[in-house]
């Protein structure tokens, strides 16, 4: 008895301090030493680990003045045990384009958050926001005021435009076919009101990837996925291809054979690409970045409709505009987006994402409403069923209806 060491109050979580991967438990614990919210979070989490259910209550509706989104309200179901997380709201801070920061900027956020919140963050949330994890209602306004004074604003939550996000793009990547950072910033600014004040049927997400590698997974999780592509021929530096070959790359089997369009050939000296068949898959460019580059006539493909499974199964975005120049002031894009929002606002049901609405009314109808031409690029294949809603027919008398 005398030798008994002090028993940890979080024996289960302690197990997750072990192992080589950096430990989120350590992160919480370190904060717990000085921050009561972090301390009670640790306690409540240990309880969840013990009984295998969450101890957060349903919902929570809090916010800052004049905004309808940006804060996720959260209350403990055991406030008696864990009074410091009785309130534990999350604030979503709109990250800068491409998640580029300076240490100075980050420190400013840290200072505010240490003072008013749990000191815990997610760098970042899946949508892209800088997520501040856990504060109480009375701190929301102070935090907001302080952060805005440093140039930060809230991100989206609820039925709003969600915080747009983008890949490193031209800042740090040679593949970028348009300026993802600029477009992201521009759209975010342009549509501020829609980001903060719910007026959509449901959430709307933009994600911008500079090329078909899609490093922000836009095709999987953005209502509008803007993916850089090119129109003309892949730029080839034959000498550099030969270098790769000399250095052991098997151009035939690693490049040509894996080209999904089967449009490449290699005679040991020259790499030939039948560009008119090229699928813009990026594989050859990825594999031989010193030798191959996207073409020079660049822009983006606009895809629409990705979402998670609720309500009727997950969707990926699908092609809406095969190619669009992507240059400021982005008028063509913005006009299109506003038309879509109008349509969605008019016909969308409560909690119906644009991808679901398109399925419900039919892509053909949707295009017609947007006055967009149907294009074969939009489909993996044309319809296989013969259930066609022909629209024009002749009247008995021989007159077109």
């Amino acid at each position: 008895m005398a030798n008994e060491t002090k028993k940890s109050s979080t024996p289960l979580l302690d197990e997750l301090e072990k192992g080589k991967w950096p430990s989120f438990v350590k992160e919480i614990k370190k904060m717990a030493d000085k921050n009561p919210r972090a301390k009670d979070l640790l306690g409540q989490l240990e309880l969840s680990y013990t009984d295998k259910v969450t101890h957060w209550k349903h919902g929570g509706l809090v916010g800052v003045r004049g905004y309808g989104g940006g804060v996720i309200g959260r209350y403990s179901d055991s406030p008696d045990k864990f009074p410091n997380v009785a309130h534990f709201h999350t604030m979503r801070i709109n990250q800068p384009s491409g998640w580029f920061y300076t240490s100075k900027a980050l420190r400013e956020i840290c200072d505010v958050w240490e003072q008013h919140g749990s000191g815990l963050t997610n760098m970042h949330g899946s949508t892209g926001d800088l997520v501040l994890l856990g504060t109480s209602t009375d701190n929301l306004e102070p935090i907001f005021t302080k952060l805005t004074s440093k140039g930060w604003d809230l991100g989206g939550s609820g039925s709003v435009l969600r915080t747009p996000s983008c890949c490193a793009g031209p800042a740090r990547c040679e593949f970028a076919c348009y300026d993802t950072l600029k477009l992201t910033y521009d759209l975010t600014q342009e549509f501020q009101d829609l980001l903060h004040r719910p007026q959509f049927p449901y959430k709307w997400k933009f994600k911008m990837s500079g090329c078909p590698n899609d490093c922000v997974a836009s095709v999987a999780r953005a209502d509008m996925s803007i993916i850089g592509i090119w129109k003309d021929d892949i730029q080839v530096d034959q000498q550099a291809v030969r270098e790769y070959a000399k250095n052991g790359v098997n151009i035939q089997s690693e490049i040509c054979d894996l080209c999904p369009a089967k449009c490449m050939s290699w005679d040991g000296n020259d790499l030939k690409i039948v560009n008119k068949w090229c699928n813009k898959c990026m594989h050859c460019i990825n594999a031989l970045p010193k030798a191959l580059r996207p073409g020079k006539e660049r822009g983006a493909a606009i895809l629409i409709g990705a979402k998670a499974p609720i309500l009727q199964g997950a969707q990926m975005s699908s092609v809406l505009v095969p190619f669009m120049k992507m240059e400021p002031p982005y008028k063509e894009l913005k006009d299109l987006v506003e038309k879509i929002w109008d349509f969605w606002g008019e016909y969308g049901k409560n909690r119906e994402r644009i991808g679901e609405l398109i399925q419900r009314v039919g892509m053909g109808q949707f295009l017609e409403a947007l006055e967009l031409d149907p294009k074969p690029q939009m489909v993996a294949n044309p319809r296989t069923n013969p259930f066609i809603f022909y629209e024009e027919y002749f009247e008995e008398e021989g007159e077109e209806k």
């Binding site: 509706l61 003045r65 007026q199």
Partner: protein, 105 residues
Amino acid sequence: MAKVNLGGIEIEVDEDGFIVDPSVWNEKVAQALASTEDVPSMSEEHWKVVKYLRDYYQKYNIAPMIRKMCKDTQVDLKHMYELFPTGPAKGACKIAGLPKPTGCV
């Protein structure tokens, strides 16, 4: 859940301050709720919105979508936030005594 004094009666509210039992709602309660939502005094316009919400809810058992609410009340969204600085969902619905909006947050 906590009880608070709203318009002179002890009323049960949830953490977000929404009243739990819609049937206890009356105009006084509304006025009291308003003061918690940055609405110092209820103007005619405030009442128009709040009554619209109540009517809609009583008829359909749901809160209207925001676009519809603005259209039907002829209050545009900007002005709606001027009337209800905490927003139509948190502010107006609370004052109107509707259940707390759920879902998409």
